[in-house]
Every structure is written in C-alpha cells, then in structure tokens.
C-alpha cells in the first residue's frame, strides 16, 4: 500500500509543479481554477504525507520533466495530462487499499478525471492508462 501511496504523493507533487508552471499562461476564470487546483493538490500532498511514516516519506523532488509550456494551449494540455495521470495513480491506490481509504481514493480519481476534461483533455476509457 505504501508504494501506491508514495506514487500518489509524487503525482500530487507533480500536479502542484504543473499548476505552478501553467499559472502565468492562464487568466481570468481559468487562473482562478488554476489557483483552486493548486491549493487542492497542495492540501492533498500535506494530508497524504501525514499518512506515511516519517522515515518512509519520499524526498520532495527538485523538479519534474514536463512538456514545454509556452502559451494557454500548452498550459491546458499539461494540466489535462497531469490530472489524468493522477487519476490512474489514485486508482492504483484504491486497488491497494480497503474501506474508507479505498472509497476516498476512487472519489479523488473521479475528481482528477473530471478536472482533466475541464482543461480540454478528451475522455478516456481508463484515464491516465
């Protein structure tokens, strides 16, 4: 389970990074959504890291390899892709967990897939796979 949890934490940290990269290229209502997404992902990182034993917490990465963001289009594309990938990581966490934690993971996987669409990504049969 902790492997899947670590993967999700890294995915959430990647999402925080991606939202930060995308923010300068999106304005108005889209920028509001970027800020909302950023806060949501930051909160998840904090909550998820609290679930892991301190000694086993993965190091926060220094950076992520992401496609070049040069305008609104590439910014939306990056966020759509990051959210879909995160959805799949939460599905892995659901598979590795039980009870309330599994339900929570599925519900967050759904949220991520929805956000992926709001950034212009096409629906996928198995988001992020």
């Amino acid at each position: 389970m902790s492997g899947a949890l670590e993967q999700v934490i890294q995915g959430e940290e990647a999402a925080v990074y991606a939202y930060g990269r995308a923010a300068p290229y999106l304005s108005g209502a889209e920028n509001d959504r970027v800020r909302g997404g950023l806060v949501a992902h930051q909160q998840r990182v904090t909550a998820l890291r609290a679930e892991l034993n301190v000694q086993s917490q993965p190091q926060a990465p220094l950076g992520f390899e992401v496609p070049q963001v040069i305008d609104g289009g590439t910014a939306r594309s990056l966020l759509g892709e990051v959210e879909a990938r995160l959805s799949a990581q939460y599905a892995d966490l659901a598979a590795a967990s039980t009870g309330d934690q599994r339900r929570e993971a599925v519900l967050i996987a759904r949220e991520c897939a929805v956000r992926s669409i709001t950034w212009g990504a096409a629906p996928q049969p198995f988001p992020g796979r």
Binding site: R102, V106, R110, P123, Q124, P125, F126, R129
Partner: protein
C-alpha cells in the same frame, strides 16, 4: 447527491435485457481475463453486473446517436464515449455476454445520458468497494473516473 431521476434512469438501464454478441475478454485491457477462474464468486457477480450496465449504456448512446438533432462534433463525442463503454464491458474478467437491453427510455436526450453516466460512476464506485481482486478493483476505479469524466464532457456539449 444523486437525483431521483438519475437513480431511476440508472435502475432502468441496469435491469433490462435481450441478446447481443458482445464478448467480454480482451488481452489489451487492464484486467487479466485468465485470472477470472481464480476469482471469488463475488467478484464474478460484480463483473457481470458491470457488463450488464455498460451494455445498457451503449444501447442508450446508440438511441441518442440515431436521433438527427446532434451536430457532427457531438455525434463524434457520443460515438467515442459509447465505444469507451464497450471497452469497460470488455475489461471485466468474465465471458458473460448479457442479453441486449430493450430501450430503457423512449427518446433519451443528452441530459438523460448525463444522468445515466452520473449514476454509473456511483455504481462503479460501489462495485469497487465490493471487489476483492486487485485488478478488478483498479479497473472499476478507472471506469468510475472515466464515467465521471463523461458527465463533464457531455455537460460541455453546446445544445443544437
């Protein structure tokens, strides 16, 4: 919160029946079909109920596609999503080929599809909680996410 209407649509969609030649195994999909024999009866029942509902969703999309009121881009989206439901059914670790559903509604609209997708996402979430095999659980979580994303994609369709 699920609306009463969505619940009714979902129940109707999930409970009807007639025969199709749909198969439910595909090696390219997330669940390994060869593992089905070893899975508990509970998982098999979960998988079969998902197949029934996915095939019913496909039928509902086909009804909406058959109507002439949708523009080309909407039709492309509807066809794509219908195909994704076929893939969902094929991802289930069962060879169960359900009877094809008789129409659950007379002339379903995109709003009806949205309600059915919302209900399907909730059903898949519940099924995910019942599943025991890891692969099935993962597939159901992904399908729940996919169906929630369908709700969003359909909500963005501009009415014609």
């Amino acid at each position: 919160m699920l609306s009463r209407r969505a619940l009714l649509v979902g129940l109707a969609v999930g409970s009807t029946a007639v025969v199709t030649g749909c198969t439910t195994n595909d090696d390219s999909l997330p669940v390994d079909p060869t593992s089905s024999a070893a899975e508990p009866d509970n998982d098999l029942a979960v998988a079969e109920s998902v197949v029934v509902n996915e095939i019913a969703l496909v039928a509902m999309y086909e009804q909406v596609i058959a109507s002439t009121t949708n523009n080309a881009s909407t039709l492309a989206l509807l066809s794509e999503i219908a195909n994704q439901h076929r893939l969902h059914a094929q991802a289930m670790p069962t060879t169960y080929a359900p009877p094809a559903p008789s129409p659950a509604m007379n002339r379903p609209t995109i709003d009806d599809l949205i309600a059915a997708e919302r209900n399907a996402a909730d059903q898949r979430t519940s099924s995910c909680m019942e599943a025991t095999a890891e692969n099935l659980t993962r597939s159901l979580a992904l399908i729940a996410a996919s169906e929630a994303s369908h709700v969003q994609a359909l909500s963005q369709v501009i009415p014609t």
